[in-house]
């Protein structure tokens, strides 16, 4: 798929941007803080309704954006995309909220439109599919488990509308369940009919968890077939990379959603005392992890910096390959300042991957010297300075 046009209004440091995009490779170059990354961020936001950077939605609204005729400042991100199934227009407006005296508050509201019709944020996820590569991807390998769960969730949410809805429901149910457990732990309530009171939340939680687990296991299976050769090529080694899903409970033979839900229900009953003592939900997809091994070596723990970088890059290329395989349509690749971090070999592999036919890629760099002259002649170059693109 490809983005044919991107328009921004009062988004980050862009007052106005109207940018037709090439179906192939576009390089955005210029000094730091010029607004290169914001273009990638806007596309990531349209694909996932989340910013890859930390912070609240209101920070997306350009700092100097002014209220007009009583309408509080807002940022608008609009894109025309071309998919196998046809043409689409996606739009998100993030508007800062004001109190009744017209003072800006710390909150913002989000308005989504698909083909000019209002839609829910969840309906937007996956209409445009992107894979974002940044130097910070290293946390996928050496960071906390939440980063690896997020990797799977972002990938699957863009591929499966039911996954993103189930995930949102699951997270709400776990919060309710945690509040119930915490009230007992803190002795604010007597644990009189624990099983009855947890009954509904257990049932809803395990049903959602069964689906999430089944889909994650299936995705890890498919990823393993894809990342083995990718890792060998990137690392120059002969041993393939293996990704293992580490569930928070023993799954035994359960693989489909129904039997996984049943397994979790059994284990929740076995862990009642622990959960009451700790005041939180200890089992389920929100506690799971991934591990990365080559031979018998866990690279998350014992890998060199170079190996870990190779794994992170492999995971991202694997994510893109999985999306292409499942959807029959390549995701848009967003490479944020990736080249300066990589050695010649990894750089060559990455540039090879983005040069596939039918692959749209946007990449940012501060320095054109990172690229070979032949590469630069094949691509579209755009200079970015202070929220303007030339």
């Amino acid at each position: 798929m490809e983005v044919t046009r991107l328009s921004l209004r009062d988004f980050r440091n862009y007052q106005h941007l109207d940018l037709p995009l090439s179906p192939e490779i576009t390089l955005l170059y210029g000094p730091n803080a010029a607004g290169k990354t914001s273009v990638l961020e806007a596309l990531f936001y349209l694909a996932t309704t989340r910013s890859p950077r930390v912070g609240a939605d209101r920070e997306l609204v350009r700092w100097e954006a002014e209220a007009e005729a009583g309408v509080p400042p807002f940022a608008r991100v609009f894109a025309e995309i071309q998919r196998l199934t046809g043409h689409m227009r996606l739009e998100v407006i993030v508007q800062r909220r004001t109190d009744e005296d017209g003072q800006l508050t710390n909150t913002a509201s989000k308005l989504v439109r698909i083909d000019r019709r209002p839609a829910r944020a969840l309906d937007l996820v996956g209409q445009l599919r992107v894979v974002l590569f940044t130097p910070a991807d290293l946390v996928l390998v050496d960071g906390p488990p939440a980063e690896r769960r997020r990797y799977l969730d972002i990938t699957l949410s863009q591929l499966d509308p039911h996954y993103v809805r189930t995930l949102a429901h699951y997270q709400k149910i776990v919060q309710q369940r945690n509040s119930l457990l915490r009230a007992w732990r803190e002795r604010r309530r007597s644990p009189r009919a624990v099983d009855d009171e947890l009954g509904y939340w257990d049932q809803e939680m395990t049903a959602a968890a069964g689906y999430l687990l089944a889909e994650r296991l299936r995705a890890v299976g498919e990823l393993n077939a894809l990342v083995g050769p990718l890792f060998q090529a990137i690392s120059g080694g002969t041993t393939p990379l293996s990704i293992d899903y580490l569930p928070s409970l023993a799954l035994h033979e359960a693989r489909d959603a129904g039997s996984l839900a049943h397994r979790l229900m059994q284990e929740l009953r076995n862990h009642r005392r622990d959960e009451l003592a700790r005041g939180q939900t200890l089992l389920g997809p929100h506690r799971d992890d991934l591990s990365f091994t080559v031979g018998a070596v866990n690279l998350g723990r014992y890998g060199s910096r170079g190996q870990q970088r190779s794994v992170a890059l492999t995971l991202k290329l694997g994510e893109a390959a999985l999306m292409r395989q499942r959807a029959g349509d390549a995701p848009v690749l967003l490479l944020d300042d990736m080249l300066s971090e990589l050695d010649a070999q990894r750089r060559a592999h990455l540039l090879e991957a983005v040069s596939l036919p039918g692959q749209q890629t946007l990449l940012t760099a501060t320095d054109l010297a990172d690229f070979r002259p032949e590469f630069l002649t094949k691509i579209t170059r755009l200079r970015v300075e202070e929220g303007r693109i030339y």
Binding site: E100, A183, D196, G199, Y200
Partner: protein
């Protein structure tokens, strides 16, 4: 905060602004506007407003039997001789009773829980009129209990718990048919949809 600190505003005015600003949907600016409007209004108008608020507090109570809002000991539904005494419809809020009455599709009794199960908001079983419902089902000649909670997560959680509590009492337990928007509030469902959901209720 804003008003009291400004010495220009005399104390009785500041006090009313502060009280009004505590109401939902009213901020300091609207509270000031209302206060200064009342300051200029006829004495008669301010007196009837104050009396209406006091009378509402003094006279309105919860029905001793179904916990709907009422002015006597028992509400109009509970004292009516034409209502079907064998059915109880359980709802979250008094406004739900009004919504169901508007459909004309139901002639039984009610029981108002005054909320739904929501641990995240600190609302648990004991905060609702659940034990009172069970006592009624035990002591009154009830043969059907209709669980008309809102079709959202909290409403479902409440219905689940009630089903457990009522299962052993030998009554039919039903729920209004689907057709209500999930996640929506009963209060806002249109009368036709709500009415047909009641007529097509299913047994649990």
């Amino acid at each position: 905060m804003t008003s009291r600190s400004e010495n220009l505003v005399v104390e009785p005015v500041a006090r009313l602004i502060d009280e009004l600003a505590r109401l939902p949907g009213i901020g300091p600016k609207t509270a000031s506007r209302l206060t200064f409007f009342l300051l200029r209004a006829e004495a008669e108008q301010t007196r009837t407003l104050a009396e209406a608020i006091l009378a509402m507090r003094a006279q309105v109570t919860l029905c001793r039997r179904c916990y709907n809002i009422t002015v006597g000991e028992l509400c109009a539904v509970c004292t009516s001789t034409t209502r079907d005494q064998s059915k109880i419809c359980v709802v979250e809020e008094p406004l739900d009773v009004l919504a169901i009455e508007r459909t004309g599709a139901y002639r039984g009794l009610y029981h108002v829980l005054h909320g739904h199960i929501a641990p995240l908001e600190g609302i648990y079983r004991e905060d609702l009129k659940i034990d009172q419902l069970i006592a009624r089902v035990r002591s009154e000649p009830i043969d059907e209990v209709i669980l008309a909670m809102n079709p959202n997560t909290e409403g479902e959680a409440t219905a689940f718990l009630l089903l457990k509590d009522l299962a052993s009492l030998g009554v039919r337990i039903t729920r209004p048919a689907r057709g209500l928007p999930t996640g929506g509030d009963l209060e806002w469902a249109d009368p036709d949809t709500l009415g047909s959901a009641f007529e097509g209720r299913r047994e649990l």
